[in-house]
Amino acid sequence: MMLKGVGLKKYFPARRGFTLGRPPGWVRALDGVSVQVAEGETLGIVGESGSGKTTLARLFLLLERPTAGSLLFDGTPIETFGSRDLARYRRAVQAVFQDPYSSLDPRMRVEHIVAEPLPRDGGASRAVRRERVLEVLQLVGLRRDSASLYPHEFSGGQRQRIAIARALATTPKFIVLDEPVSALDVSIRAQILNLLKDLQERLGLAYLMISHDLAAARYLATRLAVMYAGQLVETGDCDAVYTEPLHPYTQALLSAALPLHPSARRRRIVLTGEVPNPMNPPAGCRFHPRCPQAMPQCRNDEPAWKEVKPGRFTACHLY
């Protein structure tokens, strides 16, 4: 099974105050991104705020409709799906969000939170649903009697386990992890990262992991996609990208991440300037105004997406 996005674009109308008619401009949150996630792998999507990673996740979760491009589920474009296929898609593609304090309804018992994505057809299904809830609670390491409690009775790490249980309830194939450990305390992060890894091995899950935490992405991801200003700049095997980043932006981004030891100081590539305005991105390569290796052609020609080495793709005129 394969989840694929082809040429995905998402533009949001940029309005100021109360205006009617044509918006004065478009925020190009996502501007032509193609990615795929295969069964059992973890695609890490890293980038800074405004790079479009969350918009990409929202497209895969059908929370936004793409302005252009399409999503393919097992090779079939989802625009052609009827309601039954869409329901199947939603069961197969689930999500875990960043903040378990806001992603769980405080007025619902855990049992109902976890059961919510389960289909409600048939009369006998009540017992079946409850059985499934208890099963997934155990999978994520929570006790069976957690089912009758409310979210406030749990700590942050346990809440994230509840959110993971809810995502697992429909036996999905893909889970979108949107910053799954960013809101958690450091001593709890390892518990959740390990749990996600174990679940993947046991259940053959594929993850699409959105993260600005480069260390967490390195731990979980098997493939990495780096985004900048609404576009992909580089993809490849996770370890290969970390050890030998090709695109100058990836190089700068990774050099800014702080290693965990004082003597491991590395040469930092300091970027000047700021992320471009998404309403009016620069011509040519979007990174050229900040790129330490920019050449004249970078200003005008948008670099093509190409395979530079086996399995390593980037869009840069250097290659």
Binding site: D185, V186, L193, Y242, A257, P262, R268, L271
Partner: protein, 327 residues
Amino acid sequence: MALLEVDHLTTHFFTRRGVTKAVDGVSFTLDTGETLALVGESGSGKSVTCLSLVRLVPEPAGRIIGGRVLLDGEDLLTKSPAQMRRVRGKQIAMVLQDPMTSLNPGLTIGTQISEVVRRHQGLRGGALRTRVLEALSRLRIPGAERRLEHYQHQLSGGMRQRVSSAIAMSCAPRLLIADEPTTSLDVTIQAQYLDLLKDVQQATGVAVILVTHDFGIVAANADRVAVMYAGRIVEIGDTLDVFNHPAHPYTRALLRCLPDVERKRERLVEIGGQPPDLIRLPSGCPFAPRCPEREPRCETEYPPAVRLGDGHVAHCWVAPGAEAVRG
């Protein structure tokens, strides 16, 4: 004499549920030009320690109930509110996590910096303006003249944090308290900001208390590090010593449980359990219930300070050398 000497600082919150021992006997010293990182998880007491130093603990629930905070030998805890107002902003300045909320959205950047300089240095007119522009350019804020007229919403996150730092540094404080200054910033902007902070520190000799939960930031920026857990400093020492020879089981566990950008870890070593409830702290070592190396006495008696080397101290019954302290 050290610039700052904190001795058994104790700050409790009196709530309906009971007494929260947010800071429970914290002691450390800090020299001019030095950076001390306070590192720990949420609820470990890092921020309340900082608020206590400047006496901004939210009252009436929170109260500093004991200890001393000596800045240049003068105890800040015995000063009157009016005297404290002269210390804050002038001798001790603070940079907070989120510049969106620490800057006033209704005032221009220029007005906000001028306010501090006028109050503490009594400057007016041209001299005031010159000093404000200096403050902005020290934090390498481009187009300072233009920025004076700007509001915070016209600035990016990184630029906002530079402006709050410019405000903090405008009166040449002796001590800068930076409470998670880069948590709301992107990695490349975080790197820029931390480099800048280091340059400013080198130029001015300001001492910095850097509060963070990120060991990468500690490794890259701190001369010394204090690891906090449940309202206490459980280990303190030179950054290199603590990273190379972590003595407290909590420090060791933290360093093993973190993913690293440098290399792929096969499996993270988890710390089981949860941080303790500060209202019902165990009588012994608060980390004992989660500690893989605990002994019976850990659960009944708080461990003594074990000196492991020059300025490297850990509070642990099983730390190497604890034998000598026992008895």
